[in-house]
């Protein structure tokens, strides 16, 4: 037995910079790339006018994975999420630098059709926002817009399939012609998810999809996320640590516009490497 084992051991290297914002060379802790990426992002900077909101973020979204993005308010996680389907284009003062690719294709290239991009990268928002149309028309709208059905019966099939995948069919099959806005909050959110998946996206972005829902409706959405991940990649921004832990396979922690740490959710929530991640998820700072 070597009595000096403690002294001889090689120290574990940790990147524990407390002030990543002032560290221009800050490198995200963990593996930002994945072998089977549906979307890749490299060195992404986002500015609102003169103010920089995102600093040099690189992060891949794997195929059929649920990637959770967490962090305090204002850390840039929603801003980053909105870069992934060019939702930030609607903000005049917003400027994006870096490289974001969907299946190897630069989504910010001049040739990219933004409407088509948003069909391939669907989005579900914090507050359910069904169109003021019937349940059926809400789901059929995008399908018609992109010309994805060959006939009325084909459209019927797509709508039914989307509602089934969203776990809503049994609850609305007898009232497809009633207004979508008449459904409960949780049903409306699942309707929005049905609307997003009806046009067969590759990735679904979810920005706080359960923050306006009660625990039962939240559980249904979480169950749905699990089911949907068999067919799609999902990026979810959430303020609920437990939700991130429950639904995702990978978790990314943002802080002051930087991606501090990314890793397997199981590790992030039991033994994170960066003290800022630990501090945030254990409720030691806000």
């Amino acid at each position: 037995m070597n009595q000096t084992a403690i002294e001889d051991a090689k120290p574990i290297e940790r990147n524990n910079s407390d002030d990543p914002l002032n560290d221009p060379n800050y490198k995200t802790v963990g593996e930002v790339t994945v072998p089977n990426a549906a979307m890749t992002t490299k060195n992404v900077d986002v500015y609102y006018g003169d103010k920089q909101a995102i600093y040099n973020v690189s992060l891949d979204v794997g195929k059929n994975e649920v990637l959770a993005m967490i962090g305090p308010s204002g850390c840039g996680k929603s801003t980053f999420l909105r870069c992934l389907n060019r939702m930030n284009d609607t903000i005049d003062i917003c400027r994006i630098e870096g490289d974001i690719r969907l299946d190897g294709e630069d989504i910010y290239s001049r040739n990219m059709d933004v409407v088509l991009l948003r069909a391939r990268v669907g989005m579900v928002f914090q507050k359910p926002n069904p169109f003021p149309k019937s349940v059926y028309d809400n789901v059929a709208y995008g399908v018609n817009l992109h010309g994805l059905s060959r006939s009325k019966s084909d459209l019927d099939d797509i709508v039914e399939d989307a509602l089934k995948r969203a776990g809503l069919w049994d609850e609305v099959s007898d009232r497809l012609n009633q207004p979508g806005t008449g459904l409960s909050g949780g049903q409306q959110q699942r309707l929005c998810i049905a609307r997003a998946i009806a046009i067969s996206p590759e990735i679904i972005l979810m920005d706080e999809p359960c923050s306006a829902l009660d625990p039962i409706a939240t559980a249904k959405i979480e169950e749905l996320i699990d089911e949907l991940s068999k067919h799609y990649s999902i990026c979810i921004v959430t303020h609920s640590m437990q939700q991130a832990a429950r639904v995702s396979q990978r978790t990314a922690y943002f802080h002051l516009g930087k991606l501090i740490e990314v890793g397997a959710t199981d590790i992030i929530f039991t033994n994170p490497s960066h003290r800022l991640t630990e501090g945030y998820i254990t409720g030691r700072f806000g």
Binding site: I6, D8, Q242, F269, T270, T277, T282, F285
Partner: protein, 237 residues
Amino acid sequence: MNEGHIVKRFDQEIEHLNSLILEMGQLAISQLAEAQESLANEDPEQAYNIIARDSKLNDLDSQSNDEIIRLIAKRQPVARDLRELIAIGKIVSDLERAGDEARKIAGLTIRFFEPGKKPPSDEILSDIHQLAEYVCKMLQLSMNSFGEQNMKIAGKVVKRGLKLDGQLQSIIRRLTTFIMEDPRNIGHFIDIVLGIRALERFGGHAKNIAGHIVFIQTGEDLRHVADDEFLKSIGKH
């Protein structure tokens, strides 16, 4: 991570739980120290008191477990907080069992020194005294390590555990010579070997606790690794 939680109540609850554990630790240590004293004083009455006091450890065990379940349900801890609560649950079990081992030593006093019994010679008993002091010190170090969340002290516990193994082997060898000299010692020999086994387990619980401290600090589960690896792992952090 020394920074407190935003919810101060959570810190207070963990602090309260820690104080229960420290109380349990001190009780387990004093139980063994007094059991050894009862043996030295040849005092069965003191031994009966020690056995009766074991229920206090059982109460603290139940109280701590209730507190842990309540904290997990209410605070939904993650990362270090989660590790700490899980590890404390295991530390509680180790301390409760250490108390059971101390009770066995008190049982020896009753067995040897109740009126009408023929006690063993001081020479045969000397090993029990020496070993009891040694493992008491191990648990004391473990509790210091817990109180200060200090892995270096945990390392000292493991080093003492290594020496303990050697001591046990030489004690058994020595006791064997007593039997060979006078086979009538066999009855006492069996009792004393069982006592030594109890003390060995007491030391084992102290070592387990040291492992739990490392788990809290680093997330590494060192329960099933060799002592050498254990010490190396502490040195890495």
